[in-house]
């Protein structure tokens, strides 16, 4: 139902003629600005962002690099020397520590009960001296 194909009344035909004439009389300043706006729009259309699938495709290397970095970080985290762990465990009192503290004999061994040096120094001396020392204790 385009007005072109419709049966237009005289009034509609005349109104269209007058309106089209007014369009033709649009001044140069307006024409110039419209022309500039059109050029800007055409430029914007030719430089507009790529479609979504293309943007996703170009993100693949970045995403891969990020995933690799996360993987390396995880591996390094879990691959740290286990020697660190006892320290962390010692930070909290365990049942074994409590037994040791409660056991007075055990503490004596550690605390050098007779004033002649620590138990550990004595044990080290004994192991250096050989197996015969066992009978001396």
């Amino acid at each position: 139902m385009n007005p072109d194909s419709e049966q237009l009344t005289d009034f509609e035909r005349n109104a269209r003629r007058v309106l089209e004439e007014s369009v033709l009389r649009v001044d140069g300043r307006v024409r110039s600005r419209l022309n500039q706006a059109r050029q800007a729009a055409v430029e914007a259309a030719s430089t507009r962002p790529h479609p979504i699938f293309w943007r996703v495709f170009t993100l693949v290397p970045t995403a891969g690099a990020a995933a690799a970095a996360i993987l390396v970080a995880l591996v390094m985290w879990h691959g740290q020397p286990q020697a660190e762990l006892p320290f962390a465990e010692n930070a909290r009192p365990t049942a074994e520590d409590l037994d040791l503290l409660a056991d007075g004999d055990g503490l004596d061994l550690v605390q050098d009960g007779d004033g002649s040096g620590s138990f550990y120094e004595w044990a080290a001396d004994q192991s250096e001296a050989g197996s015969g020392t066992e009978t001396d204790t």
Binding site: P3, A15, R25, D27, R31, A37, R38, A45
Partner: protein
């Protein structure tokens, strides 16, 4: 320039160029009528230019990939939204300015003598008749309710059919017919034989 080994890139570039040409052609075909429609609604030349410019940019950015046959109703839909936004903003600004104690004269735009030159020059008598008819029609159009004004201009000046007008106005085809009928009635009553 694209390399021959990248056949798909070459196709893509040429299709982009073709689309740019088609878009340029389309916009060149509608810009003056769109300006007149915006001017009738906004009654301000620069505002009308801004509205058309925004509509062009938005069409280019968001809908350039759509089939070219769909551009016209889409373009006028965008333009209509832009006009409505500007009218709302103007209403708010008017309310704010009305409360301000001092306000400057906003009509400081000086007319450009070169810009004022008409592009066509019919005979003086005909020119006078046309000018009179134009003035009367524009005045009568300005007094129409917005929807009637819009439907009349889209149908009569731009030549959109009922379905395209409905898309451009964001309403049903029945509504388009009703608004158009009422617009014609009102204009006939006001203008009589003048147009």
């Amino acid at each position: 320039m694209p390399v021959s080994s990248h056949g798909d890139v070459e196709l893509s570039d040429s299709s982009i160029n073709a689309r740019s040409r088609t878009l340029n052609q389309f916009l060149a075909g509608v810009e003056l009528k769109a300006f007149k429609i915006a001017q009738a609604a906004l009654r301000h030349e620069d505002d009308a230019l801004d509205a058309v410019q925004d509509a062009m940019l938005q069409l280019a950015r968001a809908y350039a990939d759509k089939p070219a046959e769909e551009w016209k109703p889409l373009f006028y839909r965008i333009l209509e939204n832009r006009i409505r936004d500007m009218q709302r903003r103007r209403t708010v600004r008017g309310r704010v300015i009305a409360w301000m104690p001092f306000r400057g004269d906003e009509d400081d735009d000086e007319p450009d003598p070169i810009a004022q030159a008409p592009s066509n020059d019919p005979s003086p008598v005909k020119k006078l008749e046309l000018a009179e008819a134009m003035g009367a029609l524009e005045k009568a159009l300005a007094e129409l309710p917005r929807r009637q004004q819009q439907v009349f201009l889209l149908r009569t000046l731009e030549g959109l059919d009922v379905a395209e007008t409905a898309v451009a106005m964001g309403c049903s085809e029945g509504s388009v017919k009703t608004h158009y009928f009422r617009a014609l009635q009102a204009l006939r009553e006001q203008l009589g034989d003048l147009v």
